[in-house]
Amino acid sequence: MVGKDCVAIACDLRLGMQALTVSNNFPKIFSYGDVYLGLTGLATDVSTVSDLFRYKVNMYRLREERNISPQTMANLVSSSLYERRFGPYFVSPVIAGLNQTTGKPFICGFDSIGCIDFAKDFIVSGTASDQLFGTCEGLWEPDLVSA
């Protein structure tokens, strides 16, 4: 979610199979320097994809000698997912971060094969996306600040 000169990203910690809760401590947000990546979907792919991007972002940092920007990360995620067009990772990623050069907040979401959703306000993902769409659409307004 975008606010005044800030972004926020949040996830629950539940890991379950439909109604059965398997774990109460399964984080779904991963940090890559200045960029945060949220991953919902198939848990094994959440782990695989988060590790894959840790490797890719580390390689980027070694090559470029700088942190990856949220925009570049978005394109990296998109092309990496589309590479698996006919055998996709079952994840719906969300990116949030501040661009270190411009200072502007940036968020975006993806489907499982890498189509980017550049939203100006908020991105939701996962099993409660309908509920989150309703609350965000009802409560979000431009230039929100942290309490």
Partner: protein
């Protein structure tokens, strides 16, 4: 994303149009089917206060990706005098399959009117609520395909709101959203009406954190919440839109309002 398209008719299932005549299978045998239900989309919402109840519903009627009409009311006055229900004190809202909704409204209205002729007094909302449950359960194995919400004032003059599943299981509540956008509206209501997930600022951390206590809201606040809930639902759900019909039940009777919503 499949949930977004849930309103569309079943793929490969029977059509509803006479232009789609059943085609002969290669073997020469014909198969006919009849599906007695349609989902007409739309959403309804009810909130009860200290001395009033508000029911609301959008007026769009859909079938798949088509719009049947932009004005099909989902709110009905129950009881009162004559076909205009003059002096009625109960409102029924129905969402789901519109034909079943109309049939259900017709049956409940007749029963509540007959009750007054036979007993010489108005039916209480609690009695009407239980009767509605029985009507729904009577068709347990061929249900009215609707989510009903019944609103009025109880014997103490407090706002009363009852919600139902299609087979008559019911409960008195403070607020309830039903229909296509119920999953979008209900968490918003939990937060803004019952103050769920809201805490007193500066009351501490962890177990010391004090939850904000729910209290009955003033009528104007509730009307504003209802409008906000629907304008939000219209943004994110294709089956909701066109118009917002509201009925406000107070001891002075039923006030009806209409607010336009986006038609896209």
């Amino acid at each position: 994303m499949a949930s977004v398209f849930s309103g569309a008719p079943p793929q490969g299932g029977p059509g509803y149009s006479f232009t789609q005549t059943p085609r002969a299978a290669p073997s020469g045998e014909r198969q006919h089917g009849f599906y007695p239900y349609t989902d007409n989309g739309g959403s309804t919402l009810g909130i009860s206060g200290a001395d009033f109840t508000i029911l609301a519903g959008d007026t769009r009627s859909t079938s798949g990706y088509n719009i049947n009409t932009r004005y099909a009311p989902k709110l009905f006055k129950i009881g009162g005098e004559g076909p205009d229900n003059k002096g009625a004190q109960i409102v029924l809202s129905v969402v789901g399959f519109a034909a079943d909704g109309d049939a259900l409204k017709e049956r409940l209205d007749t029963i509540v009117k007959m009750y007054k002729y036979q007993h010489g007094k108005n039916m209480t909302v609690s009695a009407c609520a239980q009767r509605l449950s029985h009507i729904l359960y009577n068709k347990r194995f061929f249900p009215y395909y609707v989510h009903a919400i019944l609103g009025g004032l109880d014997e103490e003059g407090k706002g009363a709101l009852y919600s139902y599943d299609p087979v008559g299981s019911y409960e008195r509540e403070q607020c309830r959203a039903a229909g296509a956008a119920a999953s979008l509206i209900m968490p918003f209501l939990d937060n803004q009406v019952n103050f769920k997930n809201q805490y007193m600022p500066g009351s501490g951390t962890g177990h010391n954190l004090q939850a904000r206590q729910a209290q009955p809201l003033p009528q104007n606040d509730v009307e504003e919440l209802v409008r906000d809930a629907f304008t939000s639902a219209v943004e994110r759900h294709i089956e909701v839109g066109d118009g917002l019909q509201m009925m406000i039940i107070t001891r002075d009777g039923i006030a009806e309002t209409f607010t336009p919503l986006k038609k896209d």
